[in-house]
């Protein structure tokens, strides 16, 4: 039995046992998670992402190797720990996925619409973004998070993201803050990070993207926001929308000083 199957077994057991055994099953899962760190399936996405980065694709038959993620064309190492950031060539703040779209359009000649077609993977319909995000972020493993707000547009993005974080709406009156602004709380048995507090904000941000065992997919930070908004009963977050970037700026900045450590593996 490989590690993944054992993990699935442990999860099934936890579900069956319910009642008094649930807590110890949660501890078991934490142990499996630790074991899995040695062989995180995210590596499959990372390898595919690196291929995609180097492959000549699109109408211009070009690779992404000249893409400037902020540290100069083609420099990937450590780039993600400084994102989102202001890009002068586009005169706007961009997160990783937005920058990838920009490069697909400008370097590879894809139309905007074609570039954003499959933001998230499901089953056999794989997403290039999740693969690229896995590879690019893996190249920042060990780097300190250091998103700078010195540019006025970064400051503005942060302020908008902060407002969005506390914005209550929808049928349930939920905001991000409902679930993520007090320490030590949980939903059912799931621990909720307090994203307004330094240690939790660092841990919560620096462990995405993540391979989700329960979904068998690698999930990007754009996906994390998309799915939390779904649970918040909001409409559907647009991939690489200005709001998604602003919220990412807010959270990435709050994680400043934390050591980036993703792609991770999660429940």
């Amino acid at each position: 039995m490989n590690a993944l199957q054992r993990m699935a077994g442990a999860l099934a057991l936890a579900a069956l046992a319910g009642g008094v055994y649930a807590q110890s099953a949660v501890d078991e899962i934490a142990k499996y998670r630790q074991q899995l760190q040695d062989g995180n399936p995210a590596e499959l996405w990372e390898a595919r992402g690196e291929d995609l980065w180097k492959q000549k694709r699109g109408p211009k038959n070009a690779s992404l190797e000249a893409c400037d993620l902020g540290k100069g064309p083609g420099v990937v190492k450590g780039a993600y720990a400084l994102m989102p950031r202001y890009f002068a060539d586009a005169d706007r703040v961009m997160d990783l996925e937005t920058r990838l779209v920009h490069c697909m359009v400008t370097l590879q000649g894809f139309s905007q619409a074609d570039a954003v077609k499959q933001p998230f993977g499901s089953g056999s319909r794989r997403s290039n973004f999740e693969a690229l995000a896995a590879w690019v972020t893996s190249e920042s493993k060990g780097s300190p998070m250091n998103v700078s707000l010195s540019h006025p547009k970064m400051k503005e993005s942060y302020q908008i993201g902060e407002k969005m974080f506390f914005f209550r709406g929808g049928p349930h009156d939920f905001a991000c803050a409902t679930c993520h602004s007090e320490s030590g709380k949980r939903i059912r048995l799931q621990d909720l990070p307090n994203l307004t507090e330094k240690a939790d904000a660092q841990r919560g941000y620096t462990t995405w993207p993540a391979y989700r065992v329960s979904q068998g997919e690698l999930r990007s930070f754009q996906w994390r926001l998309y799915d939390c908004f779904r649970q918040q009963r909001f409409p559907e977050l647009k991939f690489t929308s200005e709001g998604s970037i602003a919220l990412t700026t807010f959270l990435a900045r709050n994680a400043a000083g934390g050591t980036f450590n993703a792609p991770a593996i999660k429940r």
């Binding site: 302020q159 908008i160 049928p171 349930h172 949980r186 909001f234 559907e236 647009k238 200005e242």
Partner: protein
């Protein structure tokens, strides 16, 4: 950017950052006064006259059952308390929504998979009794949590049409019926 400018900019940005999908229309971003006043970090304390106003306006929105009976069937109430779906764009609007009370509250001794955003409600009825006044408070609390505590994190289940009158009777019974596992 001043605080007010930031709020206005954020709203404009949000309006452009979502797609309507299924039952989740863009009007979910249109805040009522309560939502707008409560869009603040928990560390910010609103002045008492503001919280008083929020509670008053929400209390006025509570609708009590037309037949005057507030206690339904606790067995059904338990199912509603367990049920987590409803109102998400991924949910079928034809199916009834749940209350998902266990997401935030301990309720029975048997169910240990409970969240801690709200206080424990274990033995709620045993501790408070089952008087007319308690029934009315419990009903009002589930119908509109902010009638009794401004900016509560608890959804306003009746006011927002998440749960029906019948469903609320059932969860009130779960809390107050002496034979409910909440009170064992």
């Amino acid at each position: 950017m001043s605080d007010e400018e930031a709020s206005a900019r954020a709203l404009t940005v949000m309006k452009a950052s979502f797609n309507e999908r299924g039952q989740a229309k863009l009007d979910r971003l249109d805040q009522d006064e309560t939502q707008r006043l409560c869009s603040i970090p928990p560390s910010v304390k609103l002045p008492k006259e503001v919280t008083d106003r929020i509670e008053k306006l929400n209390l006025e929105l509570v609708k009590y059952p037309t037949d005057g009976r507030m206690l339904g069937d606790w067995r059904e109430g338990e199912k509603i308390a367990q049920r987590g779906v409803g109102m998400q764009f991924s949910d079928n609007p034809k199916n009834p929504a749940g209350g998902n009370c266990y997401a935030c509250h301990q309720m029975t001794k048997e169910e240990i998979s409970f969240g801690t955003i709200g206080p424990s409600l274990y033995n709620f009825g045993k501790l408070r009794g089952n008087s007319e006044a308690i029934q009315r408070y419990t009903w009002g609390k589930v119908w509109n949590a902010q009638a009794y505590s401004a900016c509560s994190n608890m959804p306003r289940f009746g006011h927002k049409g998440i749960l029906t009158e019948k469903q609320i009777k059932d969860v009130v019974a779960l809390l107050l019926d002496p034979s409910s596992p909440v009170n064992k």
